[in-house]
Amino acid sequence: MEQQERELLERLKQQAKEIEVPMSLRPGFMETNLQKMIHQKKRRVKQISILAAGLAAVIGIVCLVGVPNRRLEDANPVAESIRELSDVKMAESYADVYAYLKRQEKLDRNNSSILELFSGGGKKGSSMEMSVTSDGTNGNVDEFSQTNTRDSEVDEADVAKTDGRYLYVVTDEGDGVGVVDTKGGKLQEITTIKPEDCRGISEIYVQNERLIILCRRSTDDKDNIENRNAMATVIYDISEIDRPRLLNTFTQSGTYYTSRLYGDYLYVFSEFYVSTVQGKDNYEMYVPNVEGEILPCNRICIPDTDRANRYTVIVSINIKEAKETKDEMAILSDDSLCYVSTSHIYMCDSMYNDQGEKTTSIRKISYQDGELEGAAKAEVKGYLKDSFCLDEYKGYLRMVVTCSGGTKGGYDTTSNANTNSIYVLDENLKMTGEISGLAEDERVYSARFMGDTGYFVTFRETDPLFTVDLSNPKEPKIIGALKIPGFSEYLHPYGDGLLLGIGMEVDEKGVVASEVKLSMFDISDPADVKEIDKHVIERAYYSTAFENYKSVTIDAKRNMIGFSAQGAYQTYYLYEYEKGEGFTCNMEEGVTNDYNTRGIYIGDMFYLITGSYIESYSLENYERIDYIAI
């Protein structure tokens, strides 16, 4: 660090000392405070306050069949909400890429304040919001749990995994993967696998005798300017667990973003930021590389938008062979949300059009057997809350978006009311059907598409759970709307005819979200959805389930709902649900870090994993059996 920088840090430190620390935080008070907070019956309402007018608690069922739908035949109105774009555009030369980035850099300088706001002040969490689809209707009871994924057939990496006997856990230090034997409910550390030149492990996979580690490389600084080959995918053969065999290490530019595993192919997504562009011929500085080689220009996808300051680099690898990378592609983008179905990758960028309205640009990439190919793209009005808001089914892409009204223009900076829309797009991303103008002034909080039916929750003062019939792609229909107080932030199918919602209750005035709520909806008649049970967790005001679906363990067949929530304490809860009896809490355990806490079951045992600290509980009496720190 430079002398001047050090001085400035010191100055900040000295000046802070003049600030008075509130009484409640001083050591003498803290101890009494800790006690008080533990016993406090009701927390001061200060949580996520929801600006809403009027009173809540209207419970009723509104059926919206016959909402005027826009159909394809009324060609013009449909065209308004979608901008059809040509093919996914690949660069023809590095000069193309260079010119784009240069233009971008200039825009960046001119618009820095606006850009800062629009990009939301940085990354939206590298563990993107996405989720699961196990519908829990067929098959036998699973012996052990799998990571809760967005699409039940497409695996996703996580911080803890099991193969039915061993737990594989990323250590707190992030430098290794601890392997713990769970035989007989006892926890025994077998080994810790520490890849060389590798630190900051993000996530892992365990599948088909392979352990895959996604991590940051620790290389010679000179060799690694601007994260050029900063991330590594390390593959081990773990057929003999006490003798893990390193098969290969693959490198790519940027930092780890997310990944998917489907069939024998792993798809690794990294984010590579281009900070400055100096010299057209200095390719290394602005073109990402994979395995030490810069990408050919025709593997770089250039967006139509002007705002893109980073690449999403996608690399596919056959994990069985683990010999070489199969394919690679780099997509210049801004802040992508990624959804992967069993046949396509969808990269969605949130943008603004000239009217100041939010739009979403979608790039669809096919990935069969590791081969990445641009398939189609489009731009639609509105923004996506998370990856559950879009869903591919029988070749169609269904979406539920919130359309911000844009500003009124001139000196009037107030916004027009939000509305919400349903779109159905065909395989070329052409609009086939649309419903718009739903739930004025509200926005989408959660969504779940299940076959021909879609469910989504919007919220302002009460929680309408909308049911949409998508069986005819040209004519999506709202067939039900259930209004209840509060809202669900995460929806998960719970066996036959049931849908679980995890969300927030609102206070009597309908103004402030108060406590975490579990809702069970009976969806056996999609046109007449009912909330048949609800449960409020006192003093819990936030759940990790809202942001990270991988943190929940929900299994209808095992009758198990596990997630962490934050109140005065960060706590992991394990519930069961019986029709007629409602929700029963079986476990309530304090944890240090609710974001990284995972619950995994194997047979009759439940393992609570918070980084390097693992506890085992019996699922018969929920008593703690053992614990280990690795």
Binding site: Q4, M30, E31, I38, G122, T592
Partner: protein, 161 residues
């Protein structure tokens, strides 16, 4: 394994509470939010103190918890503010953070930092984290942390001259 108990907590807390509050204040830019963030982080730490192995790691451990708490609160706040306009947002941020009068220039300079820059600088100043540790927390390269921090401090320096 030697784990710490709740009795040890008070003593350890005394060594860090001021820096915790400063950190939270510089992150949240609002005294009420800062106070809440520290209380929550302390509660979580208190309840889980037995999971910490040694007293030496206390500072970095509790700052990790605090850093996550602040981040979560900022996410929640930004979600809440999603619909408010640019101007309202700016005014609100500007109005609720009082700094001793004579240090107004530092505060103004601080205002120009992005959330990520604030986070990195605040962890350096109050958390005592080095770039390597910040990198690990953010899962980014230590070099990147250093260059981001230089950029942030450069921005502030320019305004303070």
């Amino acid at each position: 394994m030697n784990r710490l108990d709740k009795q040890a907590f008070s003593g350890l807390y005394e060594t860090v509470y001021k820096d915790m509050y400063y950190f939270a204040l510089y992150m949240m830019k609002n005294p009420q939010d800062a106070e809440d963030a520290v209380s929550e982080a302390v509660m979580a730490a208190y309840q889980n103190i037995h999971k910490l192995n040694c007293a030496e790691a206390f500072r970095s451990w509790i700052f990790k918890i605090l850093s996550n708490t602040c981040k979560k609160k900022l996410i929640k706040r930004s979600r809440k503010e999603k619909h408010e306009t640019v101007r309202e947002l700016r005014e609100e941020e500007a109005s609720d953070w009082e700094f001793p009068q004579e240090n107004q220039d530092v505060r103004d300079a601080w205002e120009t930092l992005t959330e990520e820059e604030r986070h990195i600088v605040a962890l350096s100043v109050f958390g005592g984290y080095n770039s390597q540790e910040i990198g690990e927390l953010f899962q980014i390269n230590a070099n990147t942390v250093r260059s981001k921090r230089s950029r942030a401090l450069g921005k502030m320096k320019a305004l303070l001259q």
